[in-house]
Amino acid sequence: MEKRIRVLIAKPGLDGHDRGAKVIARALRDAGFEVIYTGLRQTPELITVTALQEDVNVIGLSILSGSHNTIFPKVLRLMKEKDMSNVLLIAGGVIPDSDIPALKAAGVAEIFTPGTPTASIVDFIKANVK
């Protein structure tokens, strides 16, 4: 049997908006992935440690509080330090279009903004998981 794709959905920072994170986590589970949801207020350190412990293929970060330009690069830096190049980092939330190119250049594989159907996230993961 093919190994199931494992995904960590995480809420970094202090943001409490978790409707999107929970809906996506459940949609990914319904699509056949193994999903771990961290809950709120996760530090970048905690997220990468959990990702390693859980041996995930994908980390999905959700931020709606505007702290993405600080937090996403921190997670990416830790992923590099911990040699997690085989883990796909994706993100979603309220992220202005103008911030997206720099975040992608820094290593976020894709950023899903409001209105994205969950099916397109499923497809993206299937196509890009390393």
Binding site: D15, V35, P96, S98, P117
Partner: protein, 548 residues
């Protein structure tokens, strides 16, 4: 009998319609009945179920004349970056005809961390204004007369600290504390179930809330001591019934806690206020408001034996649904907000915030906030919707739906009572689970096109990113850190240490009201982080129930 004749005619009508359904199918997600008739309001008794505005059970509104005298308070939720920036926005809004202030605080402030705490990195000034100490609060309300304006503050876990700062600023302005008007959200239970800015576990949190009830009833009598909030429950994905049911269940828990703490229900209940979402389904929202007033009136009178009419009135602020704004074709949001405003007014709100068209993308610009405020002014001055009290009453559908929502609400309250009340239901994850279930169903309905969101899953266009969005200057974090360093160097630290120690001692003694101790520390320029850390030491922190 007349009803028998009507019943058979309604049956005949439905039978005729059913025969043509194959050729002309109906849309999905519609109300159970396609047509409402006198049969649907048969059990309704005008005098006991509706009555008169300003009278029990307040179905028709809490004031006798509603908007014929004064319109609702137009209160735009605002705050970002530094106290200086936000003070400018408040003055702009007041100048544009806004009638009350509403403060948005950044996440570190809401969770009781100073701006220089490592955990605050990247969050300072983002979703609201950064307030570290009384010094920031003095700037926030500079040149705004707190004796004249009413101020709502969205602050929960550290509500004691922000209320203390507000009182301290008022004293410095020479305003008598008993004249202060405003609201603190102070609703911790929905933080656990839907919003996420909790600090302490339920027990000490409930104590802080009842401390505020008691302190204000004696010292700040015109202050709304809590805004029991359904808004965030709905935004997290609940249905309309769940919104009012879970919120009223939270309200019951607060009243019980206060009575248990020795307060007399009529001494504090008149200062309890509510906060509802106003979603897109106009008539459902109107009925939700009418039903919520009827339920709360009965809860206060029958369950808690309140005597004063003011204790039975559900007074509410509302905000249009942020979750219904679309990032796609953002101009369309102006139309959505106008309809939501109509619903809030037809439902009889006391106060309203209208969202701006660009808020699915960023905090609103000054121009888009002005359009949102103008939307309220157009509904108020031009539409005629506020000319007559509760104008939709008597419609078969409105009355039937009001009763149906009321019944749905009672069913949930019963279920939550059986679990041991709202705190227990939250600790079991029941309320969170119900909300998540509804949120997921909504999302699937949108994805399966059982529910159409214009511009999102139908009527899409190719569009360019919206330009000119508001950006919070990243320098605000650095600036707040510098301000804090200066503050810590310039104040009497020995005096503050004594005051913080006094909070710690009082926190350990459940019979003490913490408000006076916190007020002392605030006046000595203790920061929100310092004060909350003392309480963290005694109270511990809440461990969230995580489930999918």
């Amino acid at each position: 009998m007349a009803n028998e004749s009507l019943k058979s005619k309604v049956q005949a009508y439905n039978a005729k319609v059913e025969r043509s359904l194959e050729k002309r199918p109906e849309r999905k997600n519609l109300p159970h009945n396609r047509l409402y008739t006198p049969l649907d309001t048969e059990g309704l008794d005008y005098e006991s179920d509706l009555g008169f505005p300003g009278e029990y059970p307040y179905t028709r509104g809490v004031q006798p004349t509603m908007y014929r005298g004064r319109f609702w308070t137009m209160r735009q939720y605002a705050g970002f970056s530094s106290a200086e920036e936000s003070n400018k926005r408040y003055k702009y809004l007041l100048q544009q005809g806004q009638t009350g202030l509403s403060c948005a605080f950044d996440l570190p402030t809401q969770i009781g961390y100073d701006s220089d705490d490592a955990i605050a990195d990247g969050e300072v000034g983002k979703v609201g204004v950064a307030i570290d100490s009384l010094a920031d609060m003095e700037i926030l309300f500079d040149d705004i007369d707190l004796g004249k304006v009413s101020t709502s503050m969205t602050i929960n876990a550290p509500a004691t600290v922000l209320l203390a700062m507000y009182i301290a600023v008022a004293e410095k302005q020479g305003v008598a504390v008993e004249d202060l008007k405003g609201t603190i959200q102070n609703d911790i239970l929905k933080e656990y179930s839907a919003r996420g800015t909790y600090i302490f576990p339920p027990k000490p949190s409930m104590r802080l809330i009842t401390n505020i009830f008691e302190y204000c009833s004696k010292n700040v009598p015109q202050w709304n001591t809590i805004s029991i909030s359904g808004y965030h429950i709905r935004e997290a994905g609940s249905t309309a019934i769940q919104e009012i049911a879970f919120t009223i269940a939270d309200g019951i828990a607060y009243v019980e806690a206060a009575i248990k703490a020795g307060l007399n229900v009529d001494d504090f209940a008149s200062r309890l206020s509510f906060f509802w979402d106003v979603h897109n389904n106009v008539l459902e929202e109107v009925c939700k408001l009418r039903a919520s007033r009827r339920v709360w009136a009965k809860v206060m009178k029958e369950r808690f034996g309140a005597q004063s009419p003011r204790s039975m009135m559900l007074r509410t602020h509302m905000q249009t649904a942020g979750s219904m704004l679309t990032a796609q074709q953002p101009e369309n949001n102006i139309a959505r907000v106008a309809l939501q405003t109509a619903a809030a007014v037809l439902g009889g709100t006391q106060s309203l915030h209208t969202n701006s068209k660009d808020e699915a993308l960023a905090l609103p610009t000054e121009d888009s906030v002005r359009v949102a405020l103008r939307t309220q002014q157009i509904v108020a001055y031009e539409s005629g919707l506020g000319d007559v009290v509760d104008p939709l009453a008597g419609s078969y559908y409105i009355e039937a739906l009001t009763s149906e929502i009321e019944q749905g609400c009672w069913d949930y309250i019963q279920k939550i009572d059986d679990m041991g009340g709202a705190v227990a239901a939250i600790e079991k994850g029941y309320i969170q689970g119900e909300i998540q279930e509804s949120a997921y169903k909504w999302q699937m309905d949108v994805e399966n096109k059982q529910r159409i969101i214009v511009g999102v899953n139908q009527f899409q266009i190719e569009e360019k990113p919206l330009e000119g969005l508001l950006r919070v200057d990243e320098a605000v974090g650095v600036m707040q850190k510098a301000k804090l360093a200066k503050l810590r160097a310039g104040r009497d630290n020995a005096d503050l240490t004594t005051k913080l120690a006094a909070i710690e001692e009082a926190a350990k003694d459940e019979s003490k009201n913490l408000m006076p101790y916190i007020l002392d520390a605030v006046k000595a320029y203790g920061t929100i982080g310092e004060i909350c850390n003392v309480m963290r030491k005694v109270f511990g922190e809440y461990e969230a129930h995580v489930s999918l």
